[in-house]
Structures are given as structure tokens and as C-alpha cells.
């Protein structure tokens, strides 16, 4: 049993505080959705958990199975069992998925020789053509292909906790279904704890969730069961005082 515990997390950019004390707990096999309007701090939350440079962390803690992640480089957090699927996966010219994940497995003491077969199997699970896999990471891939590509990498790496940042954006219905099914499988059968950050309820109609958190102005302002997402769909974020809420 693994758990990610976020406590009183405060962080910002260039002196502007964006997260103002976030508390969350995600355990193995659970799927949590973090929902919120634009500007509520959703992406900042995912980046700060994963250790993306450019943010100032001013307080709180992020622990994975008791290990403090804050202050560690991103690759050590991944080694500890964390995975981040980016909202906008980055192009890395000249570096293939086989090379990158091979090095990751090697660093983790696993056999890098198995990476090709693992990738092929994960790619078929989300309906991604294998031809994409020999290309440099994310180069010349459509938005939807990039998102499937992120889930392929998640499957190969087998994290304890996965943070999915707007994995549903830019996906058509079929792709959303394939990605959601694979994530749900990994949670149910692989014991992955999932923190799915999204703006829309659409993802939750495909991905069964355990808990829903509403993030507003850098704080979790409400937590509830799946029904909360459907209520949000009806009322929008206006009830939480969001400016220009959808």
C-alpha cells in the first residue's frame, strides 16, 4: 500500500503565491480528481509535486510513502514511484522513447533490454501505432497522440502514484475512452494511486473516481464523492466564487 500525502502545500512563481495550503491524500488503487477553474492552481499543483523548476515552494510537504519529495530533483521523485503525465508533453529532438525509458529502467536497477517489448504492449493497450515509438519523443505527434504516449510511458514505468495533468484535453472520444480504460486498469489491478487534474467533468464520465476535490484560489475548498463532479457540471464553479467561471 502506497500513499501520497500533500500537506499545507504553498508555492508560487516570482513572488506570486498560487498554492495557499493544499491538503490531499491519495492511496494505492484510488482515483482522485482535482477539479477547478482556470487559474485555480491545478497545473502548478502537478508541477510542484513532480519537481518542475521555476516554482518557489514556500511551505508544506509532499510525502510518498513517508519520503519527503520536496527539495529533491525530479528524477529522484520518479525513482521514488511518482509519475507525471504532462498537459503539454515536451518535444525532445533526437531522443526516442526507447532510449529515455531504457535509461530510466537502468537507473532503477531494471533490465533496459525489456523496454521495447514493454512499450509495444502498452502502445497496443491505448491504441497507439508502434510507428510513433521510434520517433523522437513527442516530435511531430498530434495532441492526442502525445497524451496516449504519456500513458504508454506510465504503463512501462509502473509508478506507485501518477499525477495526470489534464490528460483529457485534446483527446477525441475514442482516445479519451482508451486512455481512461488503461488508467482505470492500472489503478484497479496495478494498485496505482491516481491524481487526475482536470477542468471538465467529461473525463470523469469515462474514468471512475473515488474522490473529487475542488481547487479554488490555491486551496481545496470542497471534497466529495463522484457525485460532486456531476453537481459541478450543473452549477459550474461560480458557487465557489470563481471569476469568469465556466
Amino acid at each position: 500500500m502506497s500513499e501520497l500525502v500533500v500537506e499545507g502545500l504553498r508555492a508560487g512563481v516570482a513572488g506570486l503565491e498560487i498554492l495557499r495550503g493544499v491538503d490531499l491524500e491519495v492511496r494505492s488503487g484510488e482515483v482522485h480528481a482535482v477539479m477547478g477553474p482556470n487559474g485555480s492552481g491545478k497545473s502548478t499543483l502537478s508541477h510542484v509535486i513532480a519537481g518542475r523548476p521555476g516554482y518557489e515552494v514556500t511551505g508544506g510537504s509532499v510525502r510518498l510513502d513517508g519520503v519527503e519529495l520536496l527539495g529533491r530533483p525530479a528524477w529522484e521523485r520518479a525513482r521514488a514511484g511518482l509519475f507525471l503525465a504532462l498537459q503539454y508533453p515536451i518535444e525532445v529532438p533526437g531522443v526516442t522513447m526507447v532510449q529515455a525509458l531504457g535509461e530510466s529502467l537502468r537507473a532503477a536497477g531494471r533490465d533496459p533490454g525489456e523496454v521495447g517489448a514493454l512499450i509495444a504492449s502498452e502502445a497496443s493497450a491505448v491504441g497507439l501505432d508502434e510507428a510513433f515509438l521510434s520517433r523522437p519523443l513527442n516530435v511531430d505527434l498530434s495532441g492526442g497522440e502525445r497524451k496516449r504516449n504519456e500513458i504508454v510511458q506510465m504503463g512501462v514505468l509502473g509508478p506507485r502514484i501518477a499525477v495526470l495533468d489534464e490528460i483529457d484535453s485534446g483527446l477525441d472520444v475514442d482516445a479519451l475512452r482508451a486512455v481512461s480504460r488503461r488508467v482505470a486498469e492500472m489503478a484497479a489491478h496495478g494498485g496505482v494511486g491516481v491524481l487526475a487534474i482536470t477542468h471538465y467533468q467529461r473525463l470523469l464520465s469515462e474514468l471512475p473516481v473515488t474522490r473529487v476535490h475542488v481547487l479554488q484560489a490555491g486551496r481545496v475548498v470542497q471534497t466529495g464523492g463522484p457525485e460532486l463532479a456531476f453537481e459541478l457540471e450543473r452549477t459550474g464553479y461560480a458557487a465557489y466564487g470563481a471569476e469568469g467561471a465556466a
Binding site: 528524477w75 520518479a78 515536451i90 535509461e103
Partner: protein, 442 residues
């Protein structure tokens, strides 16, 4: 066995180098040109940023004339033999020792490899391939004065040589001054791939190579130079190409070795429809400096040149790229592009990039772009977030960055060797190789 060296670096030495009368005369003439011109200084624009002011010619001595033994490929370091073997069974191999003596093995049909190539020299001492204009710099002239064995490679019109020509210059001897020269001439519609390798041990030496490539109408040449000189070597190299009508050239320079290593690459497009693709990949660490100067010279209509030079510096290394696109009046419909990109991998390293355009005709399409900067933080984060340790991620990104050039090396079978060599040098510079775990926790 190290080659013997002599102590007189003057006209007497030039006169003592063996060869037919015409060659000896032209050497003396070149020596006069060199003597009256003198050495350049870093105050001249074309030598700006260079280390030429640190050059002490008197510290180096050419091999004693006529005394250099030839070398077999089998006597070279194993890494070099592997590289040559990668070129395959059909490769013609020429091993040149200290720029003076060479040996050809397995010459392919249609390929003439000879020294000295008769009739190559003009009255001014410059080798007289059909190249116009004055010699590109004084070191080219010095080469003409002191080159003991100018090698000439020619392919007659219409001939397509099946395997590549691999020329290995092996250089050895503490304080050696060497003047290798390779001239390649392709007749109309002829086709050839050439790889030229510069390699040495660790001794201090001065290497002044000249490479000239002349392409007849519709000829196709792919040329790759690989510079693997040792850490004590200074190199002042000149490469010149001239393209006749509809000729096509791919020219790549891979510069990894040397202490100070300069390459001046000039491509003259003076026949309509000619196409030059000029590529370079360079990596330096420690105290190394790679100094690359280019000129894309268009003097005929509808010619095209595309230049992509990519480099990386680590440690306290320095690199300089300075390039000029020159389009003469009347060269209508010219397309000329110049791109230089540099990765700076450490705080102490420096890369300078100076692009220039000189355009005298309106009906042209020219552009230049240059970039100098550290590894992209987003790319690094992306790989790290997959669990790739920082140093390994930097190595992967740097190799990926260079691969855009390396993958086009004229002999594709040599590319894996190049990648391994570059990865090894990145590792030595502190960017770990797979599995080494150097500098990173586990």
C-alpha cells in the same frame, strides 16, 4: 616509432623536400608567398576570437624530408581500425603518415589515387585545381610550401565508385608540424563518397591540412571529415569546394579532438543549379577550442547552399562559429541558408556565433539563424520526470541535438561509431554513460 624531425623551418627545408622539379619549384614559390605575408593576428576580423596570437611556429618541426616511413592500417590504434572497418569491404583505404607518406589498399574501380598528382600546381605555388581566386589564408599557402606528398584522387566523367574512399591521416612525433593535402576531382556526372580522418596520439603538434574538392557538371560528392586529434594538437585546416553546373555536394565536418582546432570551409557555387549542403558537429571540453569559419559563395544563378553547424561546449571549452553568405551580382535565384546552434553545458564554457550576409543581387532567398544557450530546461525536466537521472538526461539531449547532423554522415555504417565516440567524450566531460552512475546517487 616516432618520425624524426629536423630543426630548420625555412627555405632550405622547403628545397630539401623531394619531388619532381615542377613540384619543388612551386613549393619554393609558395614559401616566398608565405614568407612575405607572415602570420595573421587576432586583430583581423577573420581571426577574431581565435588563438592565432598564441601560435609559435618555431615550436614545431616538419618531418625530415624523405624520411617518413609509411604505415599500415593494422599499425594504428584499434579504435581507428574499427572505424575504418565500419566503412565495409568495398572501401578504398589510404593511410597517410605525418602528411608525408601514404599507402593505398583495395583501390576500387574508377578511382585513381596518386601522389604527387602531376600538373596540379600553378605558378603561384598554389595547387591548381579549377578553383578560382587567391588562397583562402596563409596556412593554405604554407601547406603548399611544405606538403611532401599532395594526394590526388580523381574519378573520370560518368564513373560511380561503388565503395567509399577512406583517408586516414595518422600524425605522430612530439613537436611535429604536418601538412597533409588531399585533392578530390570528380569528372562530369561522376559520383564518390569520401571520409577523411585526422588522428594522432597525445603529443604536442601542429597540423595544417588542406582539402580541395572539385565537382564537374552534375557530379555528386559526399565528403565527411572526422577530426580526432589528441589533446596536444593544434589544427589550422582549410577545406574548399567548387561546384560546376548542377553538381551536388554534401560536406560534413565532425570535430571532436585537438587543443585548438580551426577549420575554414569554403564552398564556391559557380555553376548554375549547384547544390551544397554543409554540415558540422563539434564538441569540446577541458581547454579545447573549436574554431569554425565558413563561406558560402554564390556566383552563378539558381544555386543553393544549406549550412547547419551544431556544437556543444563543456568544461572551460570555447567554440567559435563565424559564417558568411556571399551572393555575387547576377547569381539570381540563389537560395542560401545558414544555421548555427550551440549548447553550453557548463558555466565555464563559451560559444560565440557570428553569422553574416553579403548580398549583391536582389532576386535571392537567404537567411541565417544562430543560437547559443544551455540545455532546454523543459526537455531536461521531461526526461527527469520519467526517472532519467540529470546527467544521463543531459547526455541524451546533447546526443539527440547532435544527431540531426551525425545521422547524415556520408558513410552511414560509420554513424554508430561516431555516436559511441561522442557519447564517450560526453561521459569523460562529466555526462555519464549508460549504467556508469558517475556523479549520481542511486
Amino acid at each position: 616509432m616516432p618520425a624524426p624531425v629536423v630543426t630548420d623551418f625555412d627555405a632550405g627545408l622547403v628545397a630539401a623536400i623531394p619531388g619532381p622539379a615542377w613540384l619543388r619549384d612551386s613549393r619554393l614559390s609558395a614559401w616566398e608567398h608565405f614568407s612575405s605575408a607572415g602570420l595573421p593576428s587576432a586583430s583581423e576580423e577573420i581571426w577574431r576570437y581565435s588563438r592565432v596570437d598564441d601560435l609559435e611556429l618555431g615550436r614545431y618541426r616538419p618531418p625530415a624530408p624523405g624520411s617518413t616511413p609509411s604505415r599500415d592500417l593494422e599499425s594504428l590504434p584499434p579504435g581507428l581500425m574499427e572505424l575504418v572497418a565500419a566503412a565495409g569491404e568495398r572501401a578504398t583505404v589510404l593511410v597517410v603518415h605525418n602528411g608525408a607518406t601514404g599507402r593505398v589498399s583495395r583501390p576500387q574501380e574508377g578511382l585513381a589515387v596518386q601522389t604527387p598528382g602531376e600538373g596540379l600546381f600553378g605558378a603561384d605555388g598554389e595547387l591548381r585545381l579549377p578553383l578560382q581566386g587567391p588562397p583562402p589564408d596563409v596556412f593554405s599557402t604554407l601547406n603548399a610550401a611544405l606538403c611532401e606528398a599532395p594526394w590526388r584522387v580523381s574519378v573520370p566523367g560518368g564513373a560511380r565508385v561503388a565503395g567509399p574512399l577512406v583517408v586516414v591521416h595518422w600524425l605522430e612525433g612530439d613537436g611535429l608540424a604536418a601538412f597533409p593535402r588531399l585533392e578530390v576531382e570528380l569528372g562530369p556526372q561522376a559520383s564518390l563518397d569520401v571520409v577523411e580522418v585526422m588522428a594522432s596520439g597525445d603529443e604536442a603538434m601542429l597540423v595544417v591540412p588542406v582539402t580541395r574538392l572539385a565537382l564537374g557538371a552534375g557530379a555528386r560528392l559526399r565528403y565527411g571529415q572526422l577530426q580526432l586529434l589528441g589533446p596536444g594538437a593544434w589544427q589550422l585546416a582549410n577545406q574548399v569546394s567548387r561546384l560546376s553546373r548542377d553538381a551536388s555536394l554534401l560536406s560534413m565536418s565532425v570535430a571532436l579532438g585537438g587543443d585548438y582546432a580551426r577549420v575554414r570551409t569554403g564552398s564556391v557555387l559557380d555553376g548554375p543549379g549547384g547544390e551544397s549542403e554543409l554540415l558540422a558537429a563539434y564538441f569540446g571540453t577541458g581547454h579545447q577550442m573549436h574554431d569554425l569559419r565558413t563561406i558560402q559563395h554564390h556566383s552563378a544563378p539558381r544555386s543553393r547552399s544549406a549550412l547547419l553547424f551544431k556544437g556543444a561546449v563543456a568544461g572551460t571549452a570555447h567554440s567559435v562559429y563565424s559564417g558568411l553568405i556571399r551572393v555575387e551580382k547576377g547569381a539570381k535565384g540563389t537560395n542560401a541558408f545558414q544555421t548555427n546552434r550551440n549548447l553550453v553545458l557548463s558555466d565555464g564554457a563559451q560559444a560565440d556565433s557570428v553569422p553574416n550576409l553579403e548580398i549583391e543581387d536582389n532576386d535571392v532567398k537567404c537567411s541565417h539563424a544562430s543560437a547559443v544557450g544551455p540545455i532546454d530546461e523543459s526537455q531536461l525536466f521531461y526526461l527527469e520526470s520519467r526517472g532519467v537521472p540529470t546527467g544521463t538526461a543531459k547526455r541524451l539531449i546533447t546526443l539527440g541535438f547532435m544527431d540531426e547532423v551525425l545521422e547524415k554522415f556520408p558513410v552511414a555504417a560509420m554513424v554508430p561509431w561516431l555516436r559511441r565516440e561522442l557519447a564517450g567524450r560526453l561521459a569523460a566531460a562529466g555526462l555519464p554513460e549508460p549504467g556508469s552512475g558517475v556523479g549520481e546517487g542511486s
